[in-house]
């Protein structure tokens, strides 16, 4: 990324070149996400090793469902924010990201609530995997929120240019990744 600025601004280069550059960055981001998905695979495995398919009746299904719905809506707004930024609409991006931040923040708070006031015995095999898995999701969610907040602040301060567009896009995509992994974890922890 720094190399790009070193080579000069976007105006002096052809569109093709910048598109190739963007494709490179997207592929690198995909590798990053691939690496980041390993912990989730592991936690899903660990749950089946530890407690099989058991789901305790004490589990708070309602809170889980509500936070999942909130997060899925925030995923949609994050995708909408990407649309906006691709059209060069910085204000739209900021608005959409605000919604994402709010919904994502509430969803993550609810996860944190579940973590703190869990109805499960942490010494039980399901309880331990539940806590660790939700904890992983909360930490990743907090990172995602931080990245989103950074993108929002940045767009407020500097605005969107074709040069900077990718950073905004990727921060939103990272949130999309966080939500998708949570949905997978939700299905695995609450339903299967």
């Amino acid at each position: 990324m720094a190399a790009r600025t070193a080579m000069g601004s976007a105006q002096t280069r052809s569109d093709v070149e910048s598109r190739i550059e963007q494709r490179k960055m997207r592929s690198a981001f995909a590798i990053f996400l691939f690496s980041m998905s390993v912990p989730y695979f592991m936690m899903i495995n660990v749950r089946y090793i530890m407690s099989g398919g058991f789901i305790p009746p004490a589990l708070d299904q309602t809170t889980g469902a509500i936070q999942t719905v909130l997060l899925v809506i925030s995923l949609l707004t994050a995708v909408a924010a990407v649309r906006r930024v691709q059209q060069g609409d910085g204000r739209g991006y900021k608005r959409m990201t605000d919604v994402t931040l709010f919904l994502g923040g509430v969803g993550t708070l609810m996860q944190g609530y579940e973590l703190w006031y869990h109805p499960l015995n942490p010494m039980s095999h399901y309880g331990e995997t539940f806590l660790a898995t939700v904890g992983l999701s909360v930490v990743m969610g907090l990172v995602g929120l931080l990245v989103l907040a950074a993108g929002r602040e940045r767009v407020k301060r500097i605005g969107v240019t074709p040069e900077r567009q990718l950073g905004y896009e990727l921060s939103s995509w990272y949130w999309v990744f966080t939500v998708i992994t949570w949905v997978a974890l939700y299905v695995e922890l609450y339903l299967l």
Partner: protein, 216 residues
Amino acid sequence: MDGEDRSKETVGSDAVEVDWSRRSFLIGTSSVLAASAIALFESSNIAKAFSALNGLQVDSGLTKVYQQDYYYIPNQMTWRVGTPMTLHIHNLSPTHFHEMQIGRGGFQRDPNYYTDLRIQFNEDFWDGVPVTIKEEHAVDNLVTNKAIVTSIPKPGPWLITAPGNGNFSPTLRPGGSISLTFTVPNKPGIWEYGCFVQGFIHYADGMKGTINILPA
């Protein structure tokens, strides 16, 4: 994944000559390295120097001894003959049992094939000493040996008064504690205390301390 590198762009118009002093760098880094080396290898000597600075502090009344894996806090104490004491022993280890024997006069040894393990002290400090158990929590067992023990809490099967079970030793489960009230008997001199549980390994791994008992 944020994309941009702006700090460089603005530097050009706002040129600053960086200057961080070589001396502060060298002093800072080398003192950190020295501090870590000292922390690793000399911490016990420094602790000794500090306790020497404090001078001789004679314990009396409530004295707390914490047990950890595998050491005591404190690992040295000073008592005076005739002082009334309440020794509160607390096992802070989350996993391990610990005991506290006090004695001197060398060790009974384990005559095994190739190691030299110490089983317990030859001379038991508590021989003939009247001791009152004021409170107990999660005590695994208390071997009374030749001490004269009265217990305020209801004694359970953990109180082992039968002879032949070794020296006086309260063994605490993880998180357990016990308070022993007694008057320091007329046995002045240097005494040692130690933990000999789990095949005597705790003592072999440094779980020990000394008591200097001053004459009255």
